[in-house]
Subunit: 155 residues, 3 copies
């Protein structure tokens, strides 16, 4: 990673079953197109100069890649595993990335994330220009996982 702020953002998600909780998580990463990197969990800022891009990103497998991650694993058949990410973009400032995951409907998690993005802007005295919210849900068969992520990188 570099000391300069990342200037690319990629919002993605995925879901899958697996034979263990870690494999279900790993399979959800694959489904999201981020299963071939060494992801590092970071807190939640969208750099001002960053461009939101359509993935997939062309980054060498095994690279150390910062990402905001939401995930939910469950081994209760029939349960809904939902992961949600929201990006708030600022009018003249950096933005904020919020996440929420767990069981329950996408609508529930999206409402929570929307509220969190709003509060994060109010608290910083920043003007919110746009909110982008995406969630993914997985109905657990045996062991399932959902993952939502914002990958941060440098063009």
């Amino acid at each position: 990673m570099r000391t300069a702020a990342p200037n690319l953002l990629w919002l993605t998600n995925g879901h899958a079953e697996g034979e263990t909780r870690l494999n279900a998580f790993d399979n959800a990463l694959i489904a999201a197109g981020i299963g071939h990197w060494n992801l590092v969990k970071v807190t939640s800022v969208a750099p001002q100069a960053a461009t939101l891009v359509r993935g997939p990103l062309d980054i060498e497998a095994g690279s150390v890649v910062p990402a905001v991650l939401a995930s939910c694993q469950s081994d209760r058949a029939g349960e809904l595993s939902t992961s949600c990410i929201g990006i708030g973009l600022g009018a003249n400032s950096h933005g904020m990335i919020m996440e929420h995951s767990g069981t329950g409907s996408p609508e529930h998690h999206e409402a929570v994330v929307r509220q969190m993005v709003h509060e994060s802007f109010v608290r910083r005295g920043l003007e919110l220009e746009e909110v982008i919210i995406r969630s993914v849900s997985h109905t657990v068969e045996q062991i399932g996982a959902s993952v939502a992520a914002v990958v941060l990188w440098w063009r």
Copy 2:
């Protein structure tokens, strides 16, 4: 981030209420002056050549910034949320950073951290020159959080 060891350390803390646990945590990060970076949690070494500086650090918003983090979120009104960090500086070696957080008094957490710093030096056969301990407590109103951190960076 770079492959060289960081040469700046900034010890900070903050506390706040929030509408959710993540927002309370986020608001505590803002209060600590570290809410505009993508923090990466690291284990606990103070590089030998690092200088302890008074913040705030001038790092671009959204940068990926390594930090030792202690935090405690609580939604029990009246409960004391305390986060404590201690830096042990070595006489002729690298130092160690220890953290402890939870409910309870700052005195309790500071005593635990002091003991942890001592043990981390004894175990490494290093000579402890100085211990700096800081804690922050928050009395929860509805949903509150405290955060103590050491930010590691490069001058």
Copy 3:
């Protein structure tokens, strides 16, 4: 850290007692030879060009070092704390690193990790050439920890 994928892998482990859970974990890191770096937890990819080396690695104390980490801390006397890591190397692709830890026998955790490595290759449609699995167990006296890790670095 750099944006290029790491090209060195070091598989190590350790175990120890400590006066607190964090110290037991820290002492296990020392025993594993990785207690003098700022470790950053990453998900689980072995870059294709990476060489598995015998440690210890010559990296400056306090450096920010990516690692896949498995650890288990326990304060129940007599309990077995086991941490296991497996590296699956691909025939013509990147590899995968899986981990499992908890109480219970090394045989149990090794079997789980072996299965996870296999599934991670099947799911990606990759050909598995070799699996290397190492575990460490610690019989808890008062407060104990085991740690297994793969350190990723650049030659």
